[in-house]
């Protein structure tokens, strides 16, 4: 089962994010909300419409940018937009106006008559976002909007998404496995793993929930170092993962030295040590006992990459 007992409410106008590793059930959730996949049990409403019984109304209420590209490469940017507008039965005058306006918004108006196959990954993404907005949806679903894009382009897309949510006041529901993305864009984040929502709150509350600072120690002997650290009076909690120990403390700077001398006394090698404020990555680690990155190296992701590469050929 890909998704099990997921329950949440998204407020109008907010940016809501699903954060989780690949295969956590993010895309499945979105596919169900977009009526592409029928849920085996349970209820969901989008813009007040039931996703099982009022499919067409749901579809009219949403725009969606899929994880995998979904443009017609043999058509121009303008034609892709036009195709979409006609499918959603937007009258001609509005359609022409909308296409111009949205292509300008994503800065593709100069390239509107170029075939999409000549576009870069970032341009395609922008075009897809513009297309998803053509029929003025109440909610816009973005499934991994910056997957596979370089950092600069990613920043660019983030700016567009932020501008959309303030200028157009459209509700945005996005999935991502990038911490920074969820942190920067989302008003509220649902951390999802193995088909279940583990925790749901604003990024700030999630991070504050962990509290204080985090000291991450890289060591070959995590087990015994951990047992020693637990004896400190200031010890609150710690997590072990993959040769790392993450210790949750207040005033981390004061305790680094203690940890260092402790390991010295006990002949435990320390490869690196680092202090930071909690990030969403730490929140994920705190609740699931693993990092998102660890999950990512799984064979599933590898298979997907291969498949995608094959498709592009």
């Amino acid at each position: 089962m890909a998704v099990d007992n997921v329950s949440f409410t998204v407020k109008e106008g907010e940016v809501f994010g699903f954060l989780g590793p690949n295969g956590a059930g993010k895309t499945t959730t979105i596919s169900m909300l977009a009526t592409l996949l029928a849920p085996t049990s349970g209820e969901a409403h989008v813009n007040g419409f039931n996703i099982k019984t009022q499919k067409d109304n749901v579809r009219k209420s949403i725009g969606i940018v899929f994880q995998d590209p979904s443009l017609d490469e043999e058509l121009t940017a303008y034609e892709n937009m036009d195709f979409h507008g006609r499918l959603y039965r937007i009258p001609k005058d509005t359609r022409i106006k909308k296409i111009e306006e949205l292509l300008k918004l994503v800065e593709l108006d100069e390239r509107k008559n170029d075939l999409v196959k000549k576009f870069s990954g970032g341009m395609r993404r922008r075009l897809e976002i513009a297309r998803g907005l053509m029929h003025e949806p109440k909610a816009l679903f973005l499934d991994e909007p910056t997957l596979g894009l370089d950092p600069q382009t990613r920043n660019h897309i983030w700016e567009y998404i932020q501008r959309l949510s303030t200028e157009k006041n459209v509700t945005i529901i996005l999935t991502t496995h990038y911490m920074e993305e969820a942190d920067r864009l989302c008003d509220r984040v649902a951390i999802i793993d193995k088909g279940k929502i583990i925790v749901l709150d604003t990024p700030k509350n999630l991070k504050d929930g962990i509290g204080g600072d985090l000291i991450t120690v890289e060591t070959p002997d995590a087990e015994s170092l951990c047992s020693h650290i637990q004896e400190f009076s200031w010890f609150k909690s710690s997590k072990q993962h993959d040769g790392y120990i993450t210790v949750n403390v207040t005033d981390a700077e004061r305790h680094i030295a203690e940890i260092a001398s402790l390991s010295c006394q006990n002949n435990i090698e320390i490869k690196s040590i680092n202090v930071h404020k909690p990030t969403l990555e730490d929140v994920f680690l705190h609740f699931t006992g693993k990092t998102i990155r660890e999950d990512e190296a799984s064979s599933l992701e590898h298979m997907r990459m291969v498949q995608r590469a094959r498709r592009r050929r």
Partner: protein
């Protein structure tokens, strides 16, 4: 109507833009026309028919061209599936049947254009253009073949995951359909068991219909051909529509 037109327009635009596809799919029919037509023209004479062999196979080669192009257009949906474009279409608030009909009409249109190119080229080769009414009858039958077999292609595509199955369809469906249709030989002289097989092949009626239009003579009454082919096209559109509707993406 708007949706059907939209999908149709996309198909025709894509077709007109892919010059290599247009030229590429002219190859096989022209090859048949030249090799078989000129190669066998002097040694084959059709009993009960005053026309040359090359004139006899022109309708068959035109039908072949329409057949191949239309099946291919239908099966192209798999590409849309793989490239994700189909999702974009299916998530729109429109009935799937309209999408399927647009696809079928688009495929049939491109197939008829392709058939017309062959027809015009072959008329150059054999001279003697036919009269206008006959020409229109031929186009009508070409359109029916196009509709039937684009729908057939869509039916297959909705059951297939990727293009791997395409070869299977080509070898076990399309070539037998073409081979048994009497496109390159007269069916009346076949041994009985084979003749019954050709009567089961819907393309036979298409070839005979085009032949009736272009040559004025045919072995099956054109009205019979028309009724059978309209029936087959209707059936295939319903079947294709049904399977397309149930398709998962």
């Amino acid at each position: 109507m708007g949706v059907i037109y939209t999908i149709w327009l996309r198909n025709v635009k894509r077709y007109l833009r892919s010059k290599s596809r247009i030229i590429g799919s002219l190859g096989m029919p022209l090859f048949f026309l030249l090799i078989l037509g000129f190669g066998l023209n002097s040694v084959v004479s059709i009993p009960g028919m005053e026309h040359d062999y090359i004139k006899f196979i022109i309708p068959g080669v035109v039908a072949m061209s329409v057949l191949f192009t239309s099946v291919f257009s239908g099966i192209q949906i798999i590409w849309d599936k793989q490239f994700g474009f189909l999702k974009e279409t299916l998530v729109a608030p429109v009935p799937r049947v309209e999408i399927m009909l647009g696809q079928t009409l688009g495929g049939a249109t491109t197939a008829v254009i392709q058939g017309l190119i062959i027809l015009v080229l072959s008329l150059f080769l054999s001279g003697n253009p036919s009269d206008m009414v006959g020409f229109l009858i031929a186009v009508l039958f070409m359109a029916l073949i196009g509709l039937s077999f684009t729908a057939l292609g869509i039916a297959f595509a909705s059951q297939m995951e990727d293009m791997h199955g395409f070869q299977l369809v080509m070898n076990f469906v399309i070539f037998p359909v073409f081979g048994l249709s009497g496109a390159v030989f007269p069916i009346s002289t076949l041994p009985p068991f084979l003749r019954y097989l050709t009567y089961l092949d819907p393309l036979t009626y298409g070839v005979e219909g085009i032949r009736a239009g272009l040559l004025g003579t045919s072995q099956i009454n054109p009205f019979t051909s028309l009724i059978v082919l309209v029936g087959f096209a209707t059936f295939m559109i319903f079947l294709g529509g049904y399977l397309f509707k149930r398709m998962k993406v």
